[in-house]
């Protein structure tokens, strides 16, 4: 497949998913925050809580609409731009997408209408239930799409059927309970909760700075900071589990995240560092221009054992017999055997030669785990862009720690002191809103850029997965999406800013 086509298709997928994920996290978290608020309203009967609920609900709706707009393309883009992928793994990958539609999207859309227009039409109890169901529905949809994503990162529960030329599901439970999928789900929804908390705390801070609706802003802040503090601890734990799963299933990604070229035991993690741009797999230069390392942590994070050997990129590409690590070259040879056996199987079947078909099938089964390597040109192709993965990972971690500190500080001050006296904290909280989005997108860059060149880990590189289409078509749609989504984003931010300025009393 031509390189430019693959690049434009990747760029379009990256663009549309980055845009979509600007809106998803807020929906995931703010749904619950609004549900907490409405619960307090229903329990206390205090009208001010209804006002609080309605204010945040309005912001929720503005964000939700553009989330839906950017989301529909994601459901179809696997087909439009990754058609070969869609056939090759559609038997497994399609199921979670369909389940997402049946179980989650309808729940969201049905009760969304009740939540916004039902205030005077349905009972208080049914309204509250609807608000909770919208939150649960959006989180359920995250579950299914992340099961699908987790499966691409670590395909399980399937067998390759050469007759249909695709992977077929053999165990549904293996697919949905895959530890990679579960940890990915928990870490991602956690990031959504943190972003929503940052959003609530940041905007409440702004209102307090402007001396507007102080009581309601403080109440919102307490809920946001509490939820944020708990969930930022949660993402640290789920992040640890995610890293452990990456170590077990995608060691090349882990090495790229750390810029680790030479494998080692008792490996430390780089707390802050800068990569040496001249470093390559071939030379022996130092990988970092400078680095501040915390000893043992990488071994512990990856394998839960401070003495564990963490393979570096060189081990993974060139192989390391001492550590029993197969070279990529060997995997490519096995992959080529698998691809060849698959063709021979097809030819033998065509010629009705069962004996030959069986022989080919045996070779294929033996080497199927390396099938995707058969399409790679050279061993180095297996290494993702190291700098982008490295910096994204470190940025995400540093920001994650900052958010935890921020929530703790805010929570302490708002409870024990007069928060309006702490202008620096309030401003920091406000400016941390965009940081939350940056951290979440950085996390996705680690997950997705870090697994290149694979569309499906070890089985299908992106070059094979892409739709057979001339790159001009994809280039045009890329720009159409870029222009349209950017325009809609501007509209969304302007509307949102206006509603925030109106404050709680603004009538929502």
């Amino acid at each position: 497949m031509e390189e430019t086509l693959v690049d434009w298709s990747r760029a379009q997928f990256a663009l549309t998913s980055i845009y979509h994920f600007l809106f998803v996290p807020l929906t995931l978290g703010l749904g619950f925050i609004v549900a907490f608020m409405e619960t307090i309203y229903v329990k206390t009967g205090d009208e001010r809580w209804k006002q609080i609920t309605k204010f945040w609900m309005t912001l929720f709706a503005i964000n939700f609409a553009i989330g839906v707009a950017t989301g529909i393309i994601m459901e179809f883009e696997f087909g439009t731009n990754w058609a070969n992928y869609s056939w090759f793994v559609g038997d497994i990958f399609g199921a979670p997408l369909a389940i997402e539609g049946i179980l989650a999207f309808f729940m969201e859309s049905t009760f969304f209408a009740v939540m916004f227009f039902g205030w005077n039409k349905v009972s208080k109890g049914f309204h509250l239930l609807s608000t909770w169901l919208v939150a649960i529905g959006s989180n359920l949809s995250a579950l299914w799409i992340l099961v699908a994503n987790g499966w691409m990162q670590h395909p399980v529960g399937m067998v390759f059927n050469p007759d249909t030329a695709r992977n077929e599901m053999s165990n549904f439970w293996d697919v949905i309970l895959s530890p990679v999928a579960v940890s990915k789900f928990l870490h991602t929804i956690g990031s959504g909760y943190v972003i929503a908390s940052l959003f609530v705390v940041g905007i409440s801070s702004w209102l307090i700075l402007k001396n507007k609706d102080i009581w309601m802003a403080k109440k919102s802040m307490i809920i946001g900071a509490t939820f944020g503090f708990i969930t930022s601890l949660f993402i640290i734990f789920s992040g640890d589990e995610s890293a452990h799963q990456v170590a077990l299933t995608q060691p090349v990604k882990l090495a790229a995240m750390e810029g680790l070229y030479e494998g080692k035991k008792e490996a430390g993690i780089v707390a802050i560092g800068m990569l040496n741009p001249n470093k390559t797999l071939q030379n022996n230069e130092n990988a970092y221009l400078f680095e501040l390392e915390i000893p043992y942590i990488l071994s512990f994070l990856g394998y839960h054992d401070i003495n564990a050997y963490v393979p570096g990129l060189k081990d993974l590409v060139w192989g390391n017999s001492k550590q029993n690590i197969m070279s990529t070259e060997e995997k490519i040879q096995k992959g080529k055997l698998a691809v060849k056996a698959f063709k021979e199987y097809k030819n033998a079947k065509h010629a009705d030669n069962h004996e030959k078909a069986n022989e080919a099938k045996m070779v294929l089964d033996e080497n199927m785990a390396y099938f995707g390597y058969g399409y790679l040109k050279k061993p180095e192709d297996v290494v993702p862009p190291v700098a982008l993965t490295f910096y994204s990972f470190h940025l995400m971690v540093i920001l994650g720690i900052w958010f935890m500190i921020l929530f703790a500080l805010v929570l302490f001050i708002v409870k024990k002191r007069e928060i309006s006296d702490y202008k620096l904290i309030l401003r920091s909280a406000l400016w941390s809103i965009p940081l939350g989005y940056i951290a979440a997108e950085a996390g996705w860059i680690v997950a997705e850029v870090g697994r290149q060149p694979w569309a499906v880990q070890d089985l299908m590189p992106v070059g094979v997965a892409v739709t057979n289409i001339s790159s001009t078509n994809v280039m045009i749609t890329f720009w159409l999406f870029a222009v349209l989504f950017t325009a809609l984003l501007i509209a969304e931010i302007k509307i949102m800013a206006k509603q925030i300025k109106l404050g709680f009393e603004g009538g929502h």
């Binding site: 503005i62 609409a65 553009i66 707009a69 950017t70 989301g71 529909i72 393309i73 459901e75 087909g79 439009t80 990754w82 058609a83 070969n84 992928y85 869609s86 056939w87 559609g90 497994i92 990958f93 399609g94 199921a95 997408l97 369909a98 389940i99 539609g101 049946i102 179980l103 309808f106 729940m107 859309s109 049905t110 209408a113 916004f116 227009f117 039902g118 205030w119 039409k121 049914f126 609807s130 249909t164 030329a165 077929e168 599901m169 549904f172 289409i469 001339s470 078509n473 749609t477 159409l480 349209l484 325009a487 809609l488 509209a491 969304e492 302007k494 509307i495 800013a497 206006k498 509603q499």
Partner: protein, 376 residues
């Protein structure tokens, strides 16, 4: 229970679900149809806002049905998903763009500081209602007229026309279903307004709009029917080869009398709904008309997929045509998804319940003008 079904039975079961989803989706196109009537049926901003809010409480259900349609096709008939979406790239992209702009329009239309201005969002709704629906009709029409693609031994597909799906617009026969769907959605939209908005002027204008739209609908729909029922179809023989069979779709109706009965009943219900509305000023005919649309469309899709018919034919290479047999998921996946499909009645149940709760009281001018109203 699903493990006892054969692969073919599961494929048929899933085609029935897809057909039903298609039917429900076309019913939900009343939202799109309503969007095209916003200016025609309103005399002032308040009236328009009443209509936008009436549709605004339902648009997401239709949108979600479209999304589910994509997901269900991916899970149940992945070869269609890869071949059609990847192949007819521009048609699907155009349809998706029409729906992307719909999704923000309700929420952003009258919000202060909305960047594009109210008019733009209303134009978005208009585009979604006309072009989006028309292109959907054209895309579905290719199930009967065929497309140009080739599928290799790996089941990778190769579209043979560089217009990537837009070539369907070069065949005027595909316009018949496109326009039929546009006018049907307008009729359903008007029936919905009549039922959902308690305001005489709008109801009156809606009835008038139905008169013209019904005639236009009947012309295109009958044209479509004549074309489909007299045309050659794409049939499958015992060995799985595709061949051309004269009057295939007419023959399908006659061999599947239940499907024919569904179809006729559906069409009759749409006509009855329109008649009762125009003649007797009935206000609840969206139910009859909507059910009729569901039945007729479901039957049409059953016709093109069952009874050994290639539902997505290739005119470039007949043997590349997609059938429910050669394009489906595996037995295991269809079985798992079969269990998931048992949730559908439950989902429909809560949708109907919430819908009933919300629409018990009709939309009135007072509600829209209330100071604490959350309006679109």
């Amino acid at each position: 229970m699903f493990e006892n079904l054969s692969l073919l039975q599961l494929q048929q079961y899933w085609w029935m679900i897809i057909s039903l989803l298609g039917g429900l989706f076309v019913f939900m196109l009343f939202v799109q149809g309503g969007q095209t009537l916003l200016n025609a049926l309103s005399a002032n901003e308040t009236e328009k806002t009443m209509m936008v809010n009436s549709l605004g409480r339902k648009w997401e259900l239709g949108f979600t049905t479209l999304v589910l349609f994509g997901g269900a096709l991916f899970a149940a008939f992945p070869l269609f998903y890869s071949t059609s979406f990847g192949g007819a790239y521009w048609v699907w992209m155009a349809i998706l763009f029409c729906f992307i702009i719909q999704a923000v329009s309700y929420e952003y239309r009258i919000k202060p500081n909305n960047f594009f201005g109210q008019k733009t969002y209303e134009i978005f709704l208009y585009i979604n209602g006309n072009i989006g629906v028309f292109l959907l009709g054209v895309a579905i029409s290719t199930f009967f007229s065929g497309s140009e693609f080739f599928i290799d031994e790996r089941n990778f597909s190769y579209w043979q026309n560089s217009l990537r799906g837009l070539e369907a617009l070069l065949n005027p026969l595909n316009y018949l279903l496109g326009f039929a769907l546009v006018f049907l959605s307008k009729i359903l939209g008007a029936l919905y307004f009549i039922n959902n908005i308690n305001y005489q002027d709008i109801q009156h204008r809606a009835i008038n709009s139905i008169k013209f739209n019904m005639i236009a609908f009947l012309i295109f729909f009958l044209g479509f029917l004549v074309w489909v029922l007299t045309k050659d179809g794409f049939a499958i023989n015992e060995t799985g080869s595709i061949y051309i069979q004269p009057f295939k779709y007419l023959f399908n109706f006659l061999t599947m009398p239940i499907v024919l009965a569904m179809f006729l009943a559906g069409v009759a219900m749409v006509i009855t709904a329109v008649f009762m509305t125009i003649r007797f000023n009935k206000s609840s005919c969206i139910k009859t008309g909507g059910m009729g649309a569901v039945l007729a469309v479901t039957a049409l899709l059953l016709n093109v997929g069952l009874n050994n018919t290639a539902y997505y034919p290739s005119t470039f290479d007949l043997q590349s045509s997609l059938t429910i047999m050669n394009s489906s998921g595996s037995h295991y996946t269809l079985k798992v998804m079969g269990y998931v499909s048992l949730m559908v009645p439950f989902v429909l149940g809560y949708i109907v319940y919430a819908w009933y709760q919300m629409d018990k009281t009709k939309i009135t001018k007072e509600e829209i003008e209330a100071p604490d109203a959350h309006n679109y």
